[in-house]
Amino acid sequence: MNMKNEAGSKDVPAAVREDSDIVQILDAEGDVLPQASVPDISDRQLLELYETIKLARHFDQRAISFQRQGRLATYAPMTGQEGSQVATSLALAEQDWLFPTYREHAAKYAHGMDLASLFEPLRGHREGYAIPEDVNVMPEYIPIATQVPQAMGMAWGHKLQGKTDTAVLCHLGDGATSEGDFHEGLNFAGVFDVPAVFVCNNNQWAISVPRERQTASETIAEKAQAYGIDGVRVDGLDPLAVYKVASEALEKARNPGPGELRPTLIESVQYRFGAHTTADDPSVYRDESEEEVWRDRDPVDRIETYLYNEGILDSDLESEIQDRIEQEVSEAIETAEQTETSPDNIVEHVYEDVPARLEQQRDELNRLREKYDDGAFSEVLE
């Protein structure tokens, strides 16, 4: 049973073993596995994949440290999961849509969102969720699994309108598979055969709850059968394997071959290297040594080794990239720190037009802000 391994025991993780039911291209070191077929990716694309994964790792470290300094609110780290996030997003066509959760920072960035906008909500401003017209990303979903039926619906809308060149990729966690919304969304996807790809980022934990307490099924991928859709497992720490699986699933979503179904549930087998969020302390509920077997398969190291092996990357280029991403992240946080929001914003965008009563409420607030001063509003909150 794979379950035992995935559950976070110290055994070799399922993703490591030469398992026939899991797609892998790179071994733990980043060398191509015998018989693996490397997807057809240009050097330019490979470097983009690499740079974006590196950026994600750096972003994560900076965000955690900013949070510790009180410059950001609660942040959900992605270390260990960036490889899968970036690979799935780079597999998307520009017109494809992305449904992220609170953890898919890198997936959003890789599908076109700018870095500063990722920081804004963490600084208490909704501006970052006002995604530009030309970026096909939904604001992140915090209520677990609620995005699944919505992603299904969007894919369905495209199909009903004949726009089957557009696929929808929907992220969710292993914990999310227990929610009713997961079930209802995937069941609809099967019945209406919509161009959607559901990526379950099985990072073995839902906060403190291990995978085997989440469900008694052996794998998450096999849940696809209950919906009459395809299920596939992939080594989520192997960016090339994820890219391959996601590309194929997206292609099938848009142009299913004869007898093929559009929707796919991808179980991307990963591990949450860090805490659930900066408010969480994993040492309370899990053994830190469990992390080690997964750290040995770090997606950043593996893709880096692969690129060195292929002669696409050398140390000069590596440090050039490193400099560039550090600067990009620094600039983003600077930009985000300049965002300001007016209290008037509270009443805006609730409806297309501000209803009379809400206008009164804003006027009343502004009357008080004038009468007293803004400082008075944070005086005695606690």
Partner: protein
Amino acid sequence: MSSTASTQAGQKAQSLTLVEAIQDGLYTEMAQDDSVVVLGEDVGKNGGVFRATDQLYEEFGEDRVIDTPLAEAGIVGASIGLSQTGMKPVPEMQFMGFMYPAFDQIVSHAARLRSRSQGQYSVPMVIRAPYGGGIRAPEHHSESKEAFFVHEPGLKVVSPSTPYDAKGLLAASIHDPDPVIFLEPKLIYRAFREDVPTKPYEVSLSEAAVRRDGSDISVYTWGAMTRPALIAAENLSQSRGIDAEVIDLRTLSPLDTETITDSFKKTGRAAIVHEAPKTGGLGAEIATTIQEEALVHQEAPIKRIAGFDAPMPLHSLEDYYLPQAVRIQDGIRETVEF
């Protein structure tokens, strides 16, 4: 079931029941705008358990009138997704009592996507649901919990009380850029007929209707309770010379507080009639708004004539649970004679 508007093209108006007016309204909107789709449990081939979507499947086909699996969160969640692609979904919840599985999708998502995204995304969608008691239905089939939705910013809540309004409010709801909870008083689905124009028209979502002018007391109500309220007013006018103004709110959120308070300023007395449990019902919001805006005019406590703070009983007792003309009359008299 009446024939659809298409077959009546020559006429200016048809005499329709409320549920026929809904069907006609859906037909009219779908004929005008390809992006309008109807989906839900049994809305397609079956034409809806109340026939509200009758003939639409035949007329517009299975891609626009869609029988879905039995899953309310799925229906509403999918509709939110559909609405992101330029479509205007009109999902049906088979009964209001079966909206609760979709509650999270409604309040956490449909209601908030606009503000979450700072206006970048919105959810133009109309969730239709038959509601209220009085039809001898089984358990969970008589819910009247409009107050839940009124308390969620970002939603509009509408309830028609006449066939004419049903079609016009439905049109306005479908054209509205924000999510609307459209509650259909099933007790009066077939209670009476009214002339309903065949051509498209809107009834505004921002205006309550004064159904009866009066000077002694303002009676606020909506949906199926509008009729017994009007009967009570008529009876009291004849038997006691009490002249009640009856206001049908029509749109429950946002409330037309202007019409509400204007009437009260004239009468100085009020009764509110609703089916929902009294405590925490919409009556409380109306009464509080009145005293906030027009206390100086108030001459008597505002009376709430409402359902009990108890689950709706089975049908042998529902006549006692629901506000009837007799209770309304008594409440009005008490308030006027205070």
